[in-house]
Symmetry: C2
């Protein structure tokens, strides 16, 4: 996921008695027994899934991964599951009709990030069980926490309820994509398929299973995320015959234009002289200011996360404009950004080399806040450059999506609060994540659905070597696999109950 | 050499009768016989020198190369030769007192450019004799033409005159440096040594042996060169605690400054919005416009070098501002530049990656024209950035030197003209080379000496694989090694004669 596990640590730990207790899951002890009996099989299922990595950037196991995902859904009791082709990697659409009043949407990703086995202590595709200091028994492998582990736990929950002889308390609509790690490039095509769209439209919202329990056992609820759009600006012999096609001797700059200067001139117009405020024409038109409730949550979160720790973690001594901590956190969550991810042109080795580059490239990214959209931001960028005559600066949008935002009073979020309260799990509410995930696909038009993440247990190392997911926690406050599965079981019941209350 | 063999091909072929013929070299046939007898030994000497590459950037054979250079001078009949230590690679200073009226300065470089043997067809340190299509028999090796071949030819000329029983017609002062390929970083320290400075001050000028005969047999005379100063601008965690020390997750740009933006803002101030006119405060103060004579030479040169060929060679379709060819050539030779050699920051692989870079670097270079100086340009840059508050932008000057310019009526140049006339070799006069060499060390204060290049024969592949120097030419219009040696013999006599005429 594009940065979802990184970034904001604003947490507002709420008293666990604010919301009335939800009803018990029926025959819960029986289901707990089934989950325990099935544990070895569940772990084995996860290991087998980890052994088949789908990597969109490398076109690795893309049809095979989709077929596997489809079979996982069918094995979990979905009555129908089908491959949805896209212009990129295919997706999977599945439904489970339990004859329930309420329908819940599930978003899965079946792809994983690239990995280099030489950097791993355990083979990245083995799913080896490894004792982790201070955590407990973990499963190590690419995709363990991002996102196969939590997803497999949810599938195990669905199976366990059925194995107890009951129907699920909610109907399920599952969409699983294979391009999450390349910014969900074609995911809009999946939800545009009428059958998929119509099925999703009946849900109370869509969530992705996750494993975001903190080390102290607390959980968090996130009410949205910024959007992210990645693009590259290129100038050089490939965009205009003013520039050479390859690097040439630098003395020629006296008579030949340098594409690196042109890139600098174009970039310079995109942010103000302060070096951070976006200066693209019309950029702030649809930026919605923070609400009082959002500011309240930010202030509460700030109190729980010491400023000096945050600075040390990020390796900086100051926030933008030397702002105080809470102001910088408000900026962090409220401001859309134009970021330079990277620059590359000409000679990049030690010291200097007398060349005039044939090509200059800047890698950039927007972070968008409600109510900006991806199309709006890209159109404004292109119009901005065109207005200033930068027709030799090529814009390539490599992926991205807009922001998402889900109401605190939606069934999805009410159910999370109720469940944490019932279990006595302290939790924080993040008004928004500064990182991004493609929830806008569900959250934006035409579906306009609540979109969220939910899941207990813990993991780490997403996008890094030695990715892990907790199986048996050494700390009773933190959930292991069995408890994470049971949390999904309970969540399905609480969602059904909250939805019934809303519709009453 | 920093771009001396690349760049301008402005040539003004002059009628070969414009200057009165110089006197014959005495007993020339005897010296020719000696050169021929010594040829195998000369080639062997060159091969042995090539086998010992001195590479300043890699600190390879730096003391050994200086010792070897010193011994080469002593073997050639210099009465004294000594190592001159510097803060970098040591230089060599040698003198040959022939009891002559006139003293001539010689500038050698004993270092060579880096090489990668895997890119070569013949081993780069073997000095293998290879037949080259359309050229003749060549010696192939790193340093063959840049600059050991021409230098060894000059040493062979000095030996041959002495072997014929005569004293040289001129006294010689040799300075040889081992850091030419890293922009002569410490060469000013060498000529600042009183003994070296005083010896050079007695010369009529200093020249470096070269091999710049064209394929059609014509030669050229260059009356100067632009200066070149290389520097790097760096912004990041190492320059201010506003920036992170390493790349961090890009979502943080909403609250943390991005050093790449700061670099863009600083760079943007260095050139005008046209993307090429330097905008550093006071930049043009000491820029001397072209003289009518220089413009005349440029126009004559343009007529000899078709515009479309020049564009094709450089891979461009247009000159700056769509200027006509002669205007672009005047710009090429008259305009000082601020060039971006390279940019590097953050993520530089395919597509994008959600990082905020911890460091951003631009590699830049000035090209300077008379009467600008290196110190002036660097001071103006630093003052320009300081005035605009860019105290977090670190400037590192990695090397360089100012421009040089030698009068057409100096002994060095008059002797070249006389010699080419005598031999019936057509020649062009380049008013200035847009590339650079450290002639300013001699040409600037306190020495203020004429500084030039001279040498017949041909070679190629400087700084590239399969570097070569011609030994036996397949074309009678082009000189091979024997003739190149004799051209140096003749040149020493013509210099003595021209100097006598001037002092009469």
């Amino acid at each position: 996921m594009v940065g979802r596990l990184v970034g904001l640590s604003v947490a507002a730990l709420l008293a666990s008695t604010a919301v009335p207790l939800a009803a018990e899951t029926p025959d819960r002890e029986q289901i707990v027994s089934i989950v325990k009996e099935q544990r070895d099989a569940t772990i084995e299922d996860l290991r087998e899934w980890i052994a088949l990595p789908t990597i969109a950037a490398e076109k690795l196991n893309t049809p095979a991964g989709a077929e596997y995902m489809k079979q996982l859904a069918l094995d979990a009791g979905f009555q129908q599951a089908k491959i949805i082709p896209t212009d990129g990697v295919p997706a999977v659409f599945a439904t489970l009709d339990a004859g329930a009043e309420t329908t819940l949407g599930l978003y899965f990703m079946y792809d994983v990030k690239q990995f280099d086995p030489s950097e791993w202590d355990a083979p990245p595709l083995e799913g080896r069980l490894v004792e982790r200091e201070g955590e407990g028994l973990t499963i190590v492998g690419r995709g363990a926490v991002n996102q196969k582990g939590p997803e497999m736990a949810l599938l195990a929950a669905i199976k366990a309820i059925q194995a107890s002889g009951k129907k699920l308390p909610v109907n399920l609509v599952l969409v699983a994509e294979g391009e999450e790690e390349v910014a969900s490039t074609h995911f809009d095509q999946v939800v545009a398929v009428p059958e998929v769209r119509d099925a999703l439209a009946k849900t109370v919202g869509v969530f992705i299973p996750s494993a975001a329990q903190s080390k102290d056992g607390s959980a968090n609820i996130t009410l949205g995320a910024k959007g992210a759009v990645e693009f590259q600006l290129v100038v050089g012999g490939e965009t205009s015959d003013k520039y050479p096609k390859t690097d040439i001797h630098s003395s020629n700059h006296a008579r030949i234009e340098n594409p690196a200067w042109r890139l600098v001139k174009a970039l310079d117009t995109l942010v103000a002289d302060d070096g951070h405020t976006p200066a693209i024409d019309g950029w702030f038109e649809n930026v919605r200011p923070l609400t009082e409730r959002q500011k309240e949550l930010i202030a509460e979160g700030a109190a729980l996360n010491p400023e000096e720790e945050a600075k040390a973690l990020l390796g900086v001594g100051r926030w933008i404009d030397d702002e105080p901590y809470v102001t910088s956190l408000e900026r962090f969550l409220s401001q859309p950004t134009v970021n330079i991810q990277g620059l590359i042109a000409g000679y990049t080795g030690p010291g200097g080399k007398t060349v005039l580059p044939g090509r200059a490239e800047a890698k950039l990214e927007f972070r968008l806040v409600p109510a900006m959209t991806k199309d709006e931001a890209v159109s404004k960028l292109k119009a901005h450059l065109a207005k200033r005559g930068f027709d030799d600066v090529q814009v390539t949008v490599s992926g991205g999506y807009g922001p998402n935002e889900t109401d605190e009073d939606s069934v999805l979020i009410r159910a999370q609060k109720a469940l944490f309260d019932e279990k006595g799990i302290p939790y924080s509410i993040r008004p928004r994540n500064a990182g991004s995930w493609p929830g806008v696909i569900f959250n934006g038009p035409p579906l306009n659905l609540p979109a969220s993440q939910f899941g207990l247990s813990r993991g780490g190392g997403a996008h890094a070597p030695n990715e892990w997911f907790l199986i048996e926690s050494s700390d009773p406050k933190v959930n292991g696999l069995d408890e994470a599965i049971m949390a999904y079981v309970d969540y399905l019941y609480v969602v059904a109950e909250e939805a019934a209350e809303v519709s009453d």
